[in-house]
């Protein structure tokens, strides 16, 4: 499978990147749906004449994006080969050195540049010491080779995944496409109009537990939002990020430093695989009693989720098996896995339960 043709944009600074984004997303605004049909052969022409009705589907597709941002490329490149994205421009961030690095802040907390590789996070003594859950989560992503390329920003922005979506163009033609791309039906929730593609990043549940915030830069300036506000909970438009915006930075607050942390990941193989279910737990204890605790789960919903009510349930108590089980029930209830990946939804939900219990107990020890 070849890569679609594109023009490569290589900004030297974040502000130049934002300029590029503004410029080419403006182009995009002019070239909405009708304009693209004039591109003829590729993006529209692929639908051979006998399935034209797919085009006139009433379902609101995510708008065509003529520009894609590349950092490590581990997510984007395979998807481009599968013709999930056929952008005209690729904005390559790798030349922006200011966006790379782990910078402990004078007033506590740490700022992690979006281009920092997962390998660097995994290896950082500072992170391991103060935010162990992130260190552990980063170390489970894919394989060492991919972690050398993949970035924390990329992991946060990771496209949602589904067996009916992450397939080649030819394959998707065979199933009649789906809501997330080119079609109007969902194969995992028949009859539904919502996309259930699962968010499958490993670090976001850990970051959620750490109350992380992210910095987003756009034409309107810089804004900083809590990470949990970034995700929509929808499989198709899964993040709140305008096409002309960029995630530049992750902040971990001082207040969540030095929590005990554990990340547990369900996967069939010990390497390479995306999570089929993932649980991050952070916990602070004092005199044998829990002062604060949070649980985040991933790969079982269209967004990474913080499990509600965990802190209330655990605070002030000494952890025992029964309490851990109660927490794991909460987590299992938060999980809504569907048949978006290998292993059955029932099993994956069950494993959220088992892994949460284990992670909570491990964090306590």
């Amino acid at each position: 499978m070849s890569l679609p043709q594109f023009k490569l944009l290589r900004p030297r600074s974040a502000s130049e990147a934002v300029e590029f984004l503004a410029k080419y997303s403006a182009r995009q605004a002019e070239r909405s749906e009708p304009a693209q049909t004039s591109r003829g052969s590729d993006s529209r022409g692929r639908l051979s004449p006998h399935v034209p009705s797919l085009l006139q589907s009433p379902h609101p597709h995510p708008p065509y994006v003529p520009l894609r941002v590349i950092a490590g490329g581990t997510d984007l490149i395979p998807s481009m080969r599968q013709k999930l994205f056929e952008p005209e421009y690729i904005l390559d961030l790798r030349g922006i050195s200011a966006m790379r690095g782990i910078r402990p802040q004078p007033d506590g907390g740490v700022e992690i540049g979006a281009l920092t590789t997962l390998r660097d996070i995994e290896r950082s003594d500072f992170i391991r010491q103060h935010y162990p859950v992130l260190s552990e989560a980063a170390a489970t992503v894919a394989s060492p080779v991919l972690r050398n390329m993949g970035t924390i920003g990329g992991n946060i922005c990771l496209d949602t995944r589904c067996l009916w979506y992450n397939q080649s163009l030819t394959w998707r033609k065979g199933c009649g496409f789906c809501i997330k791309k080119d079609g109007d039906l969902c194969h995992v929730a028949p009859g539904g109009s919502k996309c259930w593609a699962a968010f499958s990043g490993d670090t976001p549940p850990a970051l959620l537990c750490l109350n992380a915030e992210i910095e987003i830069v756009g034409p309107a300036g810089v804004r900083r939002i809590a990470l949990h506000e970034f995700y929509t909970g929808l499989g198709d438009s899964y993040r709140r990020l305008q096409p002309n915006e960029l995630v530049t930075c992750v902040f971990l607050p001082e207040s969540s430093a030095n929590y005990r942390g554990v990340y547990r990941k369900l996967r069939v193989r010990g390497s390479i695989d995306y999570p089929l279910a993932g649980v991050a737990v952070v916990m602070k204890r004092s005199n044998g009693h829990i002062v604060d605790a949070r649980v985040g789960i991933t790969a079982v919903n269209p967004a990474p989720m913080l499990v509600m009510g965990v802190s209330e349930m655990l605070t002030g108590k000494a952890l025992d098996e029964g309490l851990a089980e109660a927490v794991s029930d909460l987590a299992a209830r938060t999980a809504k896995p569907l048949t978006t990946s290998a292993l059955t939804p029932e099993y994956r939900r069950e494993m959220i339960r088992v892994f949460t219990k284990r992670a909570v107990l491990a964090a306590n020890n």
Binding site: S2, S41, S48, S168, S271, A342, L343, Y347, E350, V354
Partner: protein, 887 residues
């Protein structure tokens, strides 16, 4: 038998190792020709549809597109088996699986070709499709192939001995259904073919065709190309460059190999096609999903009295090797243990999925999983140790089994003994604590089929050796190196026989213009058959060298020893090792029988009579003077009689004497090894069988169902290990691949769509899951194998799956009847055993005893009705009733 060898039996680096590890070696996709174009294939989006019309005009008009080939460009059918010519390179009237080949675009680049694929308009009439083999067998209408009623490719019904009497005699009888889900080879190198026509100098039209292809079977490819293109075979040259693994996936003609040639003919330019990984999955030819209904009876003393197996294979849309697979499944019930009564009913069924074919352990693996699992259960029933019950059922070779298989060398007893000993079986079994256990299983495989696909008495392998004045030995063999070590084995045997160093030997392999015929690298035949042919060719050349050397040295040829690049007179009676006294000319030892020296002489004379050659000698005059470098050698030459010669001197003497120095050897399996007379008896017989026993140590997480394999002790009887490091590699690779099938690998289907056509979702184990494997080489020295060698690359695989299954049983007491043992299946079985809250994985089907295939195996993508299909979706456009039936 002498063990004193200078080359074989020593760990030897593969002759192509440097090329491969440095990246200097060229695989097919690395090749290019001036003016070469790229071909891309259009695949069918429907599992079963009639093609009403194909319009390629829009694609042809695209800038950069040179030609578009369709089925009509080469309508002749072909197939690997003479009985199964049911494939067309590009579909003529129907497509039969999602991914079937419809058209091929030839363009200046891959991107243009891909773009052009979207411009080909195909008008399909969608037909009801069949995905479940047991449903497919009931089909009356919309057959996949019109000449195959009930979509039944082939069925066989064999009965040996008296199974009913056997079961009546048994003290314990067990009957169960086992299911093995579909797996594929996942070889590292995707298939790739480059085809180029030469211009005929007289007519200016397209003349000879050269095809470079990643294939295990260059000669079959040459044959099928000739059929489809309607060209004489001698006008077609097939060259096999380096191949990055085959495992059976390249052991037949894959559509792209023919399509590339058709496209090159149409485009009048060289065309290369390389499959994407997805296309590799569609080309498939892997191990079929198999339902095994197995019944076994044993006496209290552990003796097996009878076995009855009904096997249904989900063969996919074309015959491929299917007839052979279903026969192997039955035939290889025999020749491992002594089973007096066997009943076998095998059904190879067509379904609307990619064709299954040969895969490492062809035909035997799934049935072996069922058999060894059931034997384990029977051992528990009669209160016998699982290792012991296997020892109670050994064959007494040499013998011929009840189903007509001749067994000579038989290392199984030693294999069992050694794995039991090394694994600490007796001390540790049952004492490993909660959730951890040991399991044992055995397996075997053929060392090449005694009957080739195309039945004939012609040799299966032929090898030519040429030695020139420089003392370089060139071996021409059709055997295909696919990473298994074929070239290294050939060089080793030639060097050992000729007593020269390995670096002198150059192997020219698998080029139909240069090398004599060899039917290919499959069914583990190369070491045994091409190895024997090499040995014979080398012996023939050596005779000629020996005759000349004996003359120069004034001795009898029998006195000569060829070793370490020297030819010496043996000091008879000097107390040397037997090999010195009885040189390696006859490596097969005094026990040798069989076809190499049919007269049965234990010490055959090297030449009939050396004196009569004296008169014919000296045609080449002083030619050696031109080749011998340096005055020292010239001086030595003039010294008169010598007591030793270098290999080069001996070679020059022989060329001086005979004029040329070449030898030919070939191998055809002996008549005695070719099996019985019943229908289907041709598959299963082999000149020799390899044997394997394995013990696996696993632990099971009872909360998650995850299985971890900690260690596997794998003993394999390979006859003689010509290259021990290579044998160990094959054993480890087999265990690893078997473990993949046992635990993680599974092709998952929905409505004929392969849900995991990539190496991310089709989960072969990574290095993290790889257990410690302790390979144990057992050498039974086969009387007919080259230096006693047999198969070593396939037999071990089949034991791994049941060894792991039996270990899981030992660890947590659940018997798994369906592979792979994914965590969800294991957990479901554990829950069922404990009557705990059940995990509904399987549409209400008991996970411990599946009754039928679920469409997606345990990876249940839908329960109940399935999704509302799109209006244009194939399932909906077809008649609803038929589709529901097929679901």
């Amino acid at each position: 038998m002498s063990n004193d060898f200078s080359i074989i039996g020593k760990p030897t680096a593969m002759v192509d190792a440097a090329e491969k590890t440095t990246g200097a070696g060229k695989y097919t996709d690395d090749l290019g020709l001036p003016g070469m174009l790229i071909g891309k294939i259009l695949h069918a989006p429907y599992p079963h549809a009639r093609i009403r019309q194909i319009d390629t005009s829009r694609a042809e008009r695209l800038e950069g597109v040179v030609a578009v080939a369709v089925g009509g460009d080469a309508p002749n059918p072909y197939g690997i088996l003479p009985v199964g010519h049911d494939e067309h390179a590009l579909a003529l009237d129907k497509v039969r699986y999602v991914g079937d080949n419809v058209a091929c675009v030839v363009a200046a680049s891959e991107a243009i070709a891909e773009k052009a694929l979207e411009l080909i308009d195909v008008d399909y009439e969608v037909l009801p499709a069949y995905f479940d083999p047991e449903e497919s067998m009931k089909a009356e209408t919309d057959l996949i192939h019109e000449n195959k009623p009930h979509n039944l490719e082939k069925d066989y019904h064999h009965c040996f001995g008296d199974p009913d009497a056997g079961f009546a005699e048994a003290d314990q009888v067990l009957e169960a259904r086992f299911i093995s889900n579909e797996v594929t080879h996942a070889a590292m190198e995707p298939h790739s073919t480059l085809a180029s026509f030469e211009l005929d100098p007289h007519t200016g039209k397209l003349g000879r065709l050269t095809v470079w292809s990643s294939t295990q079977v260059p000669y079959y490819l040459q044959h099928k190309l000739s059929l489809v293109l309607e060209m004489p075979m001698q006008q077609i040259r097939v060259i096999k460059p380096l191949v990055g693994g085959g495992f059976g996936g390249k052991s037949e003609v894959i559509p792209l190999e023919i399509i590339a040639a058709i496209a090159a003919r149409k485009a009048k330019a060289p065309v290369k096609i390389t499959y994407t990984r997805e296309e590799v999955f569609w080309a498939h030819r892997g191990r079929p999903r198999t339902i095994i209904d197995l019944k076994t009876g044993v006496k209290k003393d552990g003796r097996i009295t009878a076995v009855k197996a009904r096997v249904v294979q989900d063969g996919g849309a074309y015959c491929s090797y299917g007839v052979v697979t279903i026969l192997y499944s039955g035939a290889l019930l025999g020749a491992l243990y002594d089973i007096p009564n066997i009943q076998y009913d095998g059904y190879r069924v067509l379904t609307n999925k990619p064709a299954c074919g040969a895969m490492r352990g062809h035909g035997t693996v799934n049935v072996r999983f069922a058999f060894e699992s059931q034997l384990d259960e029977l051992a528990a029933k009669i209160g016998m140790d699982p290792a012991e019950i296997r020892q109670r059922n050994l064959l007494q070779p040499p013998c011929i089994t009840v189903n007509g298989l001749r067994v000579q060398s038989y290392g199984l007893p030693e294999c069992i003994e050694k794995t039991v000993e090394r694994s600490g079986w007796k001390q540790r079994k049952g004492k490993l604590g909660k959730g951890r256990g040991l399991g044992i299983a055995c397996s075997h495989y053929v060392s090449g089929a005694a009957n080739s696909i195309i039945r004939s008495d012609m040799p299966h392998s032929t090898v030519n050796i040429k030695i020139d004045r420089d003392g370089g030995v060139v071996v021409y063999t059709g055997a295909s190196e696919i990473g298994q070590g074929s070239d290294t084995m050939t060089a080793q045997i030639a060097a050992e026989t000729l007593g020269c160093s390995l670096s002198r030997v150059r192997v020219i392999a698998a080029d139909t213009d240069l090398t004599p015929i060899d039917i290919g690298s499959y069914s583990s035949r190369v070491t045994f058959m091409a190895g024997n042919a090499t040995l014979r060719a080398a012996v023939e050349v050596k005779k000629q060298i020996a005759a000349a050397a004996a003359k120069k040295m004034g001795c009898e040829v029998e006195e000569l020893v060829f070793r370490d690049d020297e030819v010496k007179r043996a000091r008879v009676g000097a107390g040397d090792s037997p090999a010195q006294g009885q040189p390696a000319q006859n490596p097969r030892g005094p026990n040798s029988r069989g076809p190499l020296f049919p007269q049965g002489s234990s010490s055959p004379p090297l030449v009939p009579s050396s004196s009569q050659h004296a008169e014919q000698a000296s045609v080449s005059g002083r030619v050696e003077g031109q080749i011998l470098r340096g005055s020292l050698q010239q001086k030595r030459k003039d010294e008169g009689l010598k007591d030793w010669m270098t290999f080069e001197e001996a070679v020059v003497a022989a060329i001086d004497f005979h004029g040329t120095l070449t030898g030919t050897g070939s191998y055809a399996p002996p008549q005695e090894a070719r099996g019985g007379k019943h229908k289907g008896a041709g598959v299963g017989p082999s000149p020799a069988y390899s044997y394997s026993a394995q013990v696996a140590e696993v632990s099971v997480d009872e909360e998650t169902g995850e299985v971890t394999v900690h260690k596997v002790w794998a003993a394999h009887d390979c006859g003689r290990a010509l290259n021990p490091v290579s044998v160990e590699g094959q054993i480890i690779g087999s265990v690893w691949m078997g473990m993949g099938q046992a635990l993680t690998e599974e092709m998952v289907w929905k409505d004929g769509m392969l849900m995991n056509p990539g190496l991310l979702e089709y989960r072969s184990p990574s290095s993290i899951e790889s257990p410690a494997v302790e390979p144990i080489i057992v050498e039974s020295i086969d009387p007919e194998g080259p230096f006693g060698a047999k198969e070593c690359s396939e037999g071990s695989l089949a034991a791994t799956i049941p060894a792991i299954a039996n270990a899981i049983y030992d660890a947590v007491g659940v018997r798994l009847h369906e592979s792979p043992f994914t965590p969800e299946r294991v957990l479901a079985a554990l829950r069922a055993k404990k009557s705990a809250k059940s995990l509904n994985l399987t549409e209400g089907v008991d996970p411990t005893a599946p009754e039928r295939f679920r469409e997606h195996g345990g990876v249940l993508l839908f329960k109940g009705k399935g999704p509302e299909r799109h209006a244009l979706d194939p399932a909906r456009r077809a008649s609803p009733a038929a589709v529901e039936g097929a679901d």
